[in-house]
Symmetry: C3
Subunit: 274 residues, 3 copies
């Protein structure tokens, strides 16, 4: 193939300023033949879990040899900047704050890790508040241009990398204990429940699911699109990333109906009885 | 030429989430040598007419062999996903909901059409709410990478494709009956009138144009830029896409002055008399 | 190297409409092998100084042979559209309204300039309100594709180009007279003071800096990140672009504490006394 390896870039930078653009400039200078795919720069600011989830959920859609650059960094400049190689051969660059942990686990674990410090790689002086430009983007670009991971800096023991556990649903026959991952702007409630969890619990075959929160509840049917729920009625759909989403037909609002739940709140799913 | 065919991508996805980015990832994986041009992802959500107009208006600026991917899909998953070849040789991919009809007509009509269903093309499982990622983006990328259109799925009779007629102005000597296509955030009023309509009506040579709406009116002069109208005065300019725009100098607001007109409202243009 | 020269694109267009996208389409058509880096399209509308500053500050991060396209154009269609070559060899395209002056100066001055008018380059009819699409983007793309600058139009005497002086801080021993360049959304106050100014004044070694505005003042310590200031306290940091930023710990707001200063307001820095 002509051209360099693709760089897939994810951050919480948004597009209001030049942060994304200057990282592009830096990477294009080092790896001019590498396409850059902006996976998303709309991660809620500093929301490491949200970024970690998007990385995991996006894996099936990324080219095998694409280098991943992920930046969501509440403690910018205080965590190590690392480059990882996973058991699957995927190269990933980002801050060592847990953001990369779930995707690394999903790829069989980290087999090699380095801290990005090589003077030939980082741009100096390193701005204490913009390691993405000065450390992480150069690292990703050098990898995309063919540099070996060892050239980026000294080895880091994989077991010292910051862990991060995405919240796990508890699944048993007829019951799922889970939590709210996120709300969207229409008040739909994203749960940390995958379609496979539903099958394991048997709740995929019940006529209706009882959705209970601490101070609210709903009775939802399985539907396949938003158009399938009538006004005020509840539905459960599998979102495009494979997670369960509790929805409610306009003008109903699922988050309000469940007592204004928010991210992290517990939810219980069981079979609805008449 | 080195590299693959360009993909020109248009949608109503915005940049708040990863929808655009994941489609880029999918296309880059299939067609790594194809540049992707994001024509716009700011189409108002579900506004098929707005997207159809942008496609037609953008044609003069697209490379001859660029593949067009257009996604504005109020009934996602219910319409057929199609790939079209026009009489001019242009390849276009999108939902069969009328979005592609005006651009196809402008290019001499559809000569070949297929429904995108080939297992080697679509990503499975197809999410019922994200055909862009699982069906349309892969189809566009395979075309850009050189796949023949027949490889995407079974032939569709062009006459069964969903039609869509953009609203047509009625033009006679000294009079144009038209409608509001859109407002911009400054309250300027875009009409479905082209510069050629103005010439055909002779209104391009009158000193001032009477702009009448159902419950408001203005008296506008031909100007060439915004700077040419004084406070509260009315002007008519040709916008960069070739349409007539009724403007009013700050702090005037053309849409308010015409009785708060909105998209679809009728407007009459005649010669202004003293 | 395979591929064309990179085009670095800066504007005040935002992403609400197709203006950025159609310029991309135009450039990709002319220079299909040239990557396009969107440095930023978030320049505040019509803010020439903001754009000029971003260009200067971004120079260290751009590839040596990247062509720069900059568009912030309050008088679109009235200023000349120019292409410049600087003493350093950098090619820059934009309106002749001062936007390009500071970056040209920083690169050793303009050695050749042309007005972009060649019929083989501009797209006709030229929209009076969208020279970016019809004149500037084609010019940048032709340069990136290898056209000599003379091919774009007739020579312009460099000394006739519009000047633009960024506000300069006045630095003496123990005192800096400067002004507000910008506020960010958290009320942090960006000053036209570089780290080198601070060193020259000796204020880099004082324990605390007195920050005086016309109707407000603060006492700030040197810190390296936002996390280093406590609630209500003042700090001075060097931002990623090398400018001094006056910050204040939440819920304090530096701009408010300085008497609601805004862009252009004068600020005096001296050593703080007890």
């Amino acid at each position: 193939m002509l051209g360099g390896r693709t760089i897939v870039f994810l951050s919480d930078f948004g597009y209001r300023n030049e942060w994304v653009g200057i990282c592009h400039a830096v990477m294009n200078r080092i790896a001019p033949a590498s396409p850059i795919v902006d996976l998303s720069h709309g991660i809620p600011p500093l929301d490491v879990q949200n970024g970690a989830l998007l990385l995991v959920d996006s894996l099936p859609y990324l080219g095998d040899d694409a280098v991943v650059l992920a930046v969501v960094d509440p403690s910018v400049g205080r965590d190590r900047d690392v480059a990882l190689e996973t058991a699957s051969g995927r190269l990933i660059v980002g801050p060592d704050n847990g953001l990369l942990a779930p995707v690394s686990t999903a790829l069989g674990g980290v087999t090699r890790a380095v801290e990005v410090t090589a003077p030939e790689v980082v741009l100096t002086p390193i701005s204490p508040s913009f390691h993405a430009r000065d450390v992480l983007a150069p690292a990703a670009a050098h990898l995309a241009a063919g540099a070996p991971i060892d050239a980026l800096g000294p080895a880091v023991a994989p077991e010292t990398l910051a862990p991060f556990a995405l919240p796990e649903a508890s699944v048993e026959r007829g019951k799922i204990e889970c939590e709210v991952l996120d709300l969207n702007r229409f008040g739909n409630v994203l749960l940390n429940v995958r379609e496979s969890h539903l099958r394991d619990s048997g709740l995929d075959r019940v006529e209706a699911i009882q959705v209970d929160a601490t101070s609210g509840s709903g009775r939802a049917h399985h539907v396949s699109t938003y158009a399938d729920v009538c006004a005020g009625e509840w539905g459960i759909i599998v979102d495009p990333r494979g997670w369960l989403l509790v929805i409610r037909g306009n003008p109903g609002n699922a988050a309000e109906g469940l007592g204004n739940v928010g991210s992290g709140d517990p939810i219980w799913l069981t079979e609805a009885r008449d």
